[in-house]
């Protein structure tokens, strides 16, 4: 399925990045022997944006990132940087910098030497290097006395900061991140995510970030690109991807979701359920007004447990099967016929509900989204 790039009016005013693409991937594919890691990806990366590539393991996102860095050469297609084709440009000549998952800090060098490395190999003199290194250390909130400390004696968070400072040292145009926070504990991860976001806003550079965690993507990105099995499925802002997914995979990947298969009886808004019994008022999928078979996608927080006097466009009756405490909300698993539906309610409403109680679930047509596949 081709990439779906949604440009909705209500979100464009909030964009903090420009509309000129600094990087363009056109039909880029990469095969390792007979295994196709990346299949015909078309993607524009805009100047100054924070773009995240998400997807499960094996979706090709790291391979794509490495092709941008120059570590891999595309088997097909072109990578264009500001109008120049850079497929064969080696990594040391590209204005990109890759922050590795393992950080790849030089263990035999000090913090200062690590940060100064890109400047040293470019022939910058020692006093200028030191000045710049101290400047960068201040930007990433590293104390000055860390300059002489061996890099292996720093904590996980400090090492991240050294890697960031080193990546920024030679002023690259695009910073690439290969799951840098995946091996860090939760609290430190939150702190570093915030710092990365602040760094992005302060430096106004283009960040391309790879992660398998959708939560990280939602929190930090201007735009998200979802990949699956080497293909780019959807690109858009976090709201667009969450509320209007391109297909079931994206819907399921972006969080808990209820999916109902439906078939249209006549050419109107009434559809009948295939895996649950009932007739539903459904808005047709965007761009496919005449389709007869589709899936309804409803997020648990859009589904409501109806009180006795309440009503909705669509209702289902079921029995509460399980309860999950999510902190601020409570999630219930409700058995409807053969299907399990997930619904989220506030704690106050949850106090009146109990296991094995019969409940009425309801949603309006506009609360759901319809996808074709």
């Amino acid at each position: 399925m081709d990439a779906v790039n949604l440009q909705s009016q209500e979100f464009s005013t909030q964009r903090s990045y420009s509309s000129t693409p600094v990087l363009q991937l056109i039909g880029v594919s990469k095969a390792f022997g007979s295994f196709v890691a990346v299949h015909k990806v078309d993607l524009d990366v805009y100047e100054g944006e924070f773009l995240t590539l998400v997807g499960p393991s094996g979706s090709g996102k790291t391979t794509l990132l490495r092709m941008l860095a120059g570590m891999e050469v595309p088997s097909q297609g072109n990578i264009i940087l500001r109008g120049n084709r850079i497929n064969d440009l080696p990594p040391n000549l590209r204005p990109t910098c890759l922050v590795f998952q393992s950080l790849a800090l030089f263990p035999h060098k000090t913090v200062g030497e690590n940060i100064e490395f890109p400047l040293k190999v470019r022939g910058v003199g020692a006093p200028e290097r030191r000045r710049r290194a101290l400047e960068l250390m201040a930007t990433v909130h590293l104390p000055e006395n860390y300059y002489r400390r061996n890099v292996m004696h720093c904590s996980g968070g400090e090492k991240q900061r050294v890697a960031l400072a080193r990546a920024l040292a030679f002023d690259p145009e695009v910073l690439l991140f290969d799951e840098p926070l995946s091996a860090i504990d939760y609290r430190l991860k939150k702190v570093l995510q915030k710092e990365l976001k602040e760094l992005h806003q302060a430096t106004r550079k283009t960040f391309v970030y790879v992660t398998h965690s959708l939560e990280e993507a939602m929190v930090m990105s201007d735009r998200i690109a979802v990949m699956h099995q080497g293909r780019l499925i959807q690109v858009g802002s976090p709201e667009e991807i969450y509320e209007r997914p391109a297909n079931r995979f994206v819907a399921e990947f972006m969080g808990d979701v209820n999916i109902i298969r439906v078939k249209r009886r006549e050419k109107d808004l009434i559809w009948s359920g295939e895996d649950v019994d009932g007739s539903f008022c459904v808005l047709p999928p965007p761009g496919e007004p005449d389709i007869c078979s589709a899936y309804i996608v409803i997020r648990p927080e859009r589904l409501r447990v109806l009180r006795p006097h309440e009503t909705a466009d669509n209702i289902l009756i079921g029995e509460i099967h399980n309860r999950y405490d999510l902190g601020s909300r409570i999630q219930y698993q409700v058995r409807v016929g053969e299907k399990m539906m997930l619904v989220e309610v506030s704690r106050s409403q949850a106090s009146s509900l109990s296991l094995q109680m019969e409940v009425t679930l309801g949603w309006n047509a506009s609360d759901a989204f319809t996808v074709v596949s």
Partner: protein, 297 residues
């Protein structure tokens, strides 16, 4: 909980004793096989020349005899050092590309290449060197092939220092190759990738990343090769004839033909001090901990 505590306290006394008990066999072996012979040699070096009685006399005449400037011992000493140093340096140049290949280039073939280098070690060094003699001697394989191809034969390749050096390089090959390979294997791949990505060219990557991290392995290889090559005897004897007398030959001569155990012992003590001193001097200058980044600069 309360019942476990007394037994823990009981076992503590026993636990501190058993590691020492377990070490006793190794200590005995080291003592009898290593330290005791060294002490015997040391004592012999102070005995009267050409005698076999230990602890009967104390004299320094063996040492003064050796340190005398006119003594031919110095020639052998310089030759041994020179050959060992040359072997070390040349071997490093030869083995580094192979080590690089084993770590980075050969891929599936690395195992086969490694086996090809280990395989000759299964054949005794003497036999291999005699094989070289048969190959290089006048009337041997090399000359025969040259004459068969129609060129002028009669090449005198053997019985010269160059040949001894070649033989030493050949026999000490694994002792340099494997430590250097291990040293290079300690360089993580993504470090080189990161260095390239940050703007370093191939030469800079080698100098700034690969060499410093591989240095412990390289040093161990060079040290091992030097120490072994310094004491090498067979190559000089088989391939070199009488062209070069190495220091190990002098030690052997003193113990066998000359029947002068005290002199041989004194020479052994001096050589031990020389090599021991070199090793300690190098390791005091080169701090492995700092190279590996374990200590602050």
């Amino acid at each position: 909980m309360t019942t476990a505590l007394p037994s823990l306290l009981e076992n503590r006394g026993k636990a501190s004793l058993s590691p020492a008990l377990l070490a006793i066999p190794s200590l005995v072996l080291l003592g009898v096989g290593f330290f005791l012979p060294l002490c015997v040699i040391l004592l012999y070096s102070f005995a009267t020349p050409r005698s076999f009685e230990l602890l009967r006399s104390f004299t320094l005449v063996n040492y003064s005899e050796l340190i005398r400037a006119e003594n031919s011992i110095w020639r052998s000493f310089i030759w041994s050092n020179g050959l060992a140093l040359a072997t070390c340096c040349l071997l490093f140049l030869f083995t580094y590309p192979i080590a690089h290949g084993l770590c980075r280039v050969f891929g599936h073939w690395a195992g086969l290449v490694t086996n090809l280098f280990i395989f000759p070690l299964f054949i005794s060094e003497n036999v291999r060197l005699h094989g070289w003699v048969l190959f290089f001697i006048k009337g041997g394989v090399l000359n025969g092939t040259i004459e068969a191809l129609g060129w002028q034969g009669g090449l005198e390749v053997l019985y010269q220092p160059g040949m001894i050096l070649a033989g030493m390089i050949y026999t000490h090959f694994p002792f340099m190759l494997f430590p250097v390979t291990l040293g290079l294997a300690m360089v993580p791949r993504d470090l080189c990738d990161a260095a390239a990505d940050l703007g370093a060219n191939r030469w800079q990557i080698w100098r700034e990343v690969e060499l410093p991290i591989a240095l412990p392995g390289i040093l161990v290889g060079m040290l091992l090769t030097f120490v072994l090559a310094f004491g090498a005897l067979t190559e000089a004897r088989i391939l070199g004839g009488q062209s070069v007398i190495v220091i190990a030959h002098d030690v052997e001569h003193a113990f066998t033909y000359a029947q002068n155990w005290p002199l041989g012992s004194a020479l052994s003590v001096l050589l031990t001090l020389w090599i021991g001193g070199l090793v300690m001097a190098i390791f005091s200058k080169v701090d492995l901990d700092r190279i590996l980044g374990k200590k602050e600069i």
